[in-house]
């Protein structure tokens, strides 16, 4: 595994992982916190965005508090050779927030395609799952929907700015 962020990037990540400063010039605030020049902060954020280290910068709505209380992880058994084609179609559906291919574990877990669906009720999620089913038809051999019923932990990711905690096998 190669390291895609250097020490200065990590300092910026550490300074922003709780959120972007809510100030007219947030880059200046981060510059002050990290000791980096302001222009470099913005440049590095842009570069990390381009490399995909930053997926996006934005607001994460709390679906649950906004009334989107039904969260269904739909799981499907589809032929591996069609995974790319079918996965892209499902991922492109406007209501699918995450779509991944994962390994099966036979016999207890036959599903390889995971598509996350949110709704204001289970029946709304069921309607959306039916639309996924129609996209996958006739290739889906089996499916299930796992609703979340309790959040047991939600800690988020923690990245240390310290050089000695840079991932193993990394080249700095």
């Amino acid at each position: 595994m190669s390291l895609k962020v250097d020490k200065a990037d990590r300092a910026i990540i550490a300074a922003t992982q709780k959120g972007l400063p809510l100030a007219p010039d947030p880059w200046a605030v981060i510059a002050e916190q990290t000791g980096l020049p302001k222009a470099e902060v913005l440049e590095r954020l842009r570069a990390m965005s381009e490399r995909g280290v930053i997926r996006r910068v934005g607001l994460v709505p709390n679906h649950y508090k906004l009334g989107w209380t039904a969260n269904g992880m739909s799981v499907w058994d589809i032929p591996d050779e069609l995974a790319g084609e079918l996965g892209s179609k499902v991922g492109a559906l406007p209501f699918v927030t995450h779509c991944y291919l994962r390994p099966r574990h036979m016999p207890e877990w036959p599903y390889n395609l995971f598509a996350m669906v949110h709704g204001r009720s289970r029946s709304e999620v069921e309607g959306k799952v039916a639309r996924i089913a129609s996209v996958l038809a006739p290739h889906a051999r089996a499916f299930d929907v796992l609703y979340s019923t309790r959040i047991l932990k939600k800690a988020g990711l923690r990245i240390s700015p310290d050089a000695e905690r840079i991932p193993h096998g990394s080249k700095v």
């Binding site: 997926r55 877990w109 932990k153 800690a155």
Partner: protein, 151 residues
């Protein structure tokens, strides 16, 4: 009761789910698109966070591309042991989130660590502590992640 958002809040959430500009005075730039002042946008974002309508505002990182490792995993926990096992699993700092779900595999958690080796070590620790086999569901492919749920 779900939180009520007014039209301006809703427009902000929908516009900023997609992307916040990496430019000089970014709030001013985003505010202009929304027909707001810089000051008003900042105050609105702050209020959305304070009311819990949004959980976060800022960069979302891709752990693998930072050199870290993530894995989804699941356990089929006997109901009478559920709370005890949840406590054992949650005690690991590598467990970023954990949900109870409606299935025989009723506990689904995401492990985040600085290497795949560390993720696997944590999984083995959980198996040893709980006496249960962990279903490993690493991501093989990702088909577009959009946060496109309109509010």
């Amino acid at each position: 009761m779900p939180l009520k958002l007014d039209d301006t809040d809703r427009a902000i959430v929908n516009a900023l789910q997609g992307g916040f500009p990496l430019v000089e005075r970014p709030y001013a730039a985003a505010a202009e698109e929304l027909g707001l002042s810089e000051e008003e946008l900042i105050a609105r974002i702050n209020s959305l966070l304070e009311r819990g309508a949004a959980t976060r505002f800022g960069p979302l990182f891709h752990a693998e591309r930072m050199g870290g490792a993530l894995m989804l995993a699941a356990l089929a926990v006997p109901e009478e042991r559920f709370d005890e096992v949840a406590e054992l699993v949650n005690a690991h700092a590598e467990v970023a989130h954990n949900y109870k779900r409606t299935h025989r595999y009723n506990m689904w958690f995401v492990l985040a660590a600085e290497s795949q080796e560390r993720v696997e070590e944590t999984v083995r620790e959980i198996e040893r502590e709980t006496g249960l086999a962990v279903l490993r569901a690493p991501k093989l492919k990702e088909y577009f992640i959009g946060f496109k749920v309109p509010v």
